[in-house]
């Protein structure tokens, strides 16, 4: 009755019977003596018959072939998961079995992996110009949620301001973090209006809402709608004047051409690292939290923190989780720890580290400029089509809002037409942001050549002018 499954070396009669006899059991049933019979499952599991590897490869490969991909189609969707170029080197490194399958280990036995994690934090720190960078959390939204709770713990206050232009999905994640223990209290998340011309935060509205109850002012640059926030300095000032923390959300791939929010006063910076060498994977996410290296902030991180340190050999460096921080997390203090901590997306931080070292000192600027130029080219060409308007357009990074309100077809119909042409049109914004008209959010990055953009423009022209 042994299956001889290739992944289970002991699934043989020989191994099983030798072990059973060593443990003094006559059959495996005996091993479950702790479980009362009434709790045993005695039915047949209704699962399909097992497949061999060759069958599985054909079966699963065949199923997945039914998907359409952003490789065989020309994709302009972004909205929090962007199609950037992933240098093949990133793949090679994280596919290595040492990294792919590693466990927790010890700082000595897994020194290389720990060093790679440290280099992730170190390089991200250079982009952000911040000295304290935590190990990753699940997503940008989670990072923002945790940061908001850090601000609550730092200030004791319960109101959080976020931009109205925030991704509704991100906001929904944050909402789930707004409960506070003992049931009665909760963080309230309020939105601050954005300028309908530029997409930037409405500073007057901000000043009005920001008060001595404000735990944190959270803003994003680029925003969900792609626009760059030029009022970073003022936002931080307003927050600080009210005694609130200033939290900024940022897409780190912009940081070759844009300042880190930290240089304009943000206390905590969060964001995603997906653009830094991680494939979209149908929705890959990764969040980071960073701050100045000040003890009051550091002790509030809900993430694990890794530090470079000495070893027993003079002059040698090692890398380890900071023990007290581990203790301060939920691993140590359970419900009294900082929020909760668990397995996250650590493997991907190694791809991030590789990505940042490939781009290095000059690559982020080169890449950033290319993205800005190509995306603005797309915006300008699209806006030249009759009935098509690009909103919030003065300065954006890679994403922009295309409004089809004045076109004879809807944004959704445009997408249908594009799909038939092998093009994935922008993410529809109509339901989420009705004030922007019948709009879609288009994303243009370094993977889009001029020819790709021209192809899009031709296809949109065709359907709009038909």
């Amino acid at each position: 009755m042994a299956t001889h499954h290739p992944h289970m070396p002991n699934a043989t009669e020989e191994a099983t019977s030798a072990m059973l006899s060593a443990v003094g059991a006559s059959d495996v049933e005996e091993l479950y003596e702790q479980i009362p019979e009434r709790l045993r499952f005695r039915g047949e599991l209704g699962l399909p018959e097992p497949m061999t590897e060759i069958e599985l490869q054909q079966h699963v490969g065949g199923l997945l072939e039914r998907n359409e991909t952003c490789e065989s189609n020309l994709n302009f969707k972004g909205a929090g998961c962007w199609q950037h170029y992933v240098p093949p080197v990133c793949d090679e490194i994280i596919e290595r079995r040492e990294f792919l399958t590693s466990e927790w280990g010890s700082p000595e036995s897994d020194k290389g992996r720990n060093q790679a994690w440290f280099e992730f934090c170190s390089q991200l720190g250079e982009l952000l110009e911040l000295d304290a960078v935590g190990l990753p959390v699940y997503s940008w939204g989670n990072a923002a949620g945790f940061a908001m709770r850090m601000a609550h713990r730092l200030t004791g206050r319960t109101e959080v301001l976020v931009p109205e232009s925030i991704s509704p999905e991100r906001q929904s994640v944050m909402e789930n973090y707004s409960r506070l223990s003992s049931g009665e209290r909760r963080l309230t998340i309020e939105t601050v209006a954005f300028d309908p011309e530029t997409g930037e935060l409405d500073l007057d509205d901000l000043r009005e809402r920001c008060s001595s109850s404000t735990a944190a002012v959270y803003y994003e640059s680029p925003s969900y709608l792609g626009t760059i926030e030029s009022g970073a300095e003022t936002i931080a000032d307003v927050a600080h004047e009210a005694g609130a923390e200033c939290i900024a959300g940022v897409d780190p791939i912009t940081l070759g051409v844009l300042d880190s929010p930290a240089t304009h006063g943000a206390d905590i910076v969060v964001g995603t690292t997906q653009p830094l060498g991680i494939h979209m994977n149908g929705g890959a996410c990764s969040g980071f939290i960073a701050s100045r290296d000040e003890e009051e902030y550091v002790v509030e991180y809900p993430t694990l923190l890794l530090s470079v340190t000495n070893t027993a050999t003079e002059g040698e460096l090692g890398y380890a989780f900071m023990p007290e921080q581990l203790h301060r997390s939920s691993y140590g203090l359970r419900e009294d720890g900082n929020d909760y901590t668990g397995t996250s997306v650590y493997l991907w931080t190694i791809a991030n580290a590789v990505y940042m070292s490939l781009l290095g000192k000059h690559g982020f600027r080169e890449l950033g400029e290319l993205v800005v130029e190509r995306s603005h080219y797309a915006a300008q060409r699209l806006s030249a089509i009759d009935g098509v308007e690009v909103r919030l357009s003065p300065s954006f990074f890679k994403e922009f809002v295309v409004d089809f309100e004045d076109a004879p077809v809807s944004a959704s119909e445009v997408n249908d037409h594009l799909k038939a042409e092998g093009i994935f049109g922008g993410v529809l914004l109509g339901e989420e942001f009705p004030t922007l008209g019948d709009a879609a959010l288009y994303c243009v990055t370094e993977v889009h050549t001029q020819a790709d953009v021209d192809r899009l423009v031709d296809a949109v022209t065709e359907v709009v002018e038909a």
């Binding site: 699962l47 199609q83 994280i94 460096l317």
Partner: protein
Amino acid sequence: WDEPSIMEMGAAGRRGITFPEAESAVRDTVGSAADYLPDAVAREDDPALPEVAEPFVVRHYLHLAQETLGFTNISMWGTCTMKYAPTMNEQLEKRHLSNLHPRQDDDTLQGMLEIAHELDGYLQELSGMDRFSFQPASGTQSAFVFTSLLRKYLEDRGELDQRTEIVTTLYSHACLPATADVAGFDVVTLQPGENSYPSTEALEAAVSEKTAALMIVNPNDLGVYNPNVDEWVDIVHDAGGLCFYDQANFNSTMGISRARDVGFDASHYMLHKTFGNPKGGLGPAAGAFGCREELVEYLPTPLVEYDEADDHYSLDYDRPNSVGKVREFWGNLPLVMKAYVWVRSMGAEGIVEASNLSVLGNNYLETLLEDVPGLAKTVENVTQRRMEMTRYSWGELFEDTGVSTVDIRRRLTDFGIDAYWMSHDPWTYDEPFTPEPGEMHSKENIETYAEALRRIAEEAYDDPERVKTAPHNQSIDRVDEERIDDPDQWAMTWRAYQRKFGDHED
């Protein structure tokens, strides 16, 4: 290798990658990027990143990989169900999933949606639950889905103000009380009874009209199964609470016992670990959260739906009672796909055998460790066979020799064996450790593991310094972890390190 930090590598002018300039028509149309970057926030100085040529980046991270023992040999890290990561899965992921966008139209995702829908069905079969969500990004986040859902459920019933307590046990994973707290509940932790699980009376005493839910693990990390678990569920149900089953330790009960049959309202499974996805250090991960029909409306959005008439799969976003989101998008799709592959590769018979072999392997290891000097099994009064792991204590050895479980753990890596899992906090037994052979390790591996522990224990008695100064065969010497609790000494980034110690270095 005496591998330097990437931050110290390279030289001016070297490039790891270059990007093309924008096409001339683009430049002619838009001018230069600078025109679109507001002066107030346009970056002037380049970030202080290294300048390293591509081959040297590769070589550097290759060396770091080589300096990683990881799971390249025996690893019996308890609670994590170390499994083989099939190469085929990584190939399928890269080939088919890397270029999917989460907001593509449903009809461009039919293959992936079918896989998710089928996996949902398999999990229903394995758990008895009625529906699964794959949105949680980890096991811990699955617990958070439960506590978020619980709020919504209580709100709908008007009981949120009344039911403020979540009951758990000390030997349940820390993520249960932690996520209870984050969702705003008060935590009641039952202390272990003599069998390591609390007595049913203790539970009865803790449960009241304030009880929102019970959240527990079973078997616990000590390998002990609470045989009264169904009574527990009844007690909580009778009091009006819900019951959540953390099945992180599912590897011993797959096909052996089902969460819903026991009476639980919700449960979760780790698609990483248990369902064959590699650990990746600490993720990417994926939790599968399942619940019974009455709670389905609260699950995170979207859910995968199948229309049999049209043979069409879709993502349902229109779910007004949903708790919303715990993570952007709808799940870690590569892990969902690989979990599907795992089930299809194993089949029912293989999955049951994996449980059998996990439990058998652990009992075999116990037999081999029986007379290792200074070692004791914990909860000795539970004489029944343990499940897939067993907690041991080196307490006697520590008293005899001063060698701690941390020392032994380090020494173990000198044998090419991964460090072991000790215990979750708090340590209720002295100098604990918790191995889990799982179904992937061979009988010979288990023997090698036991033999290594025996040799180290003997060494501790013969030459304790040798063990205390371990490791001796790793790429670096023993790491000073204490120092980095000091804010003046910790350095989470190279820039912090340079700032704090730069003078000493140059």
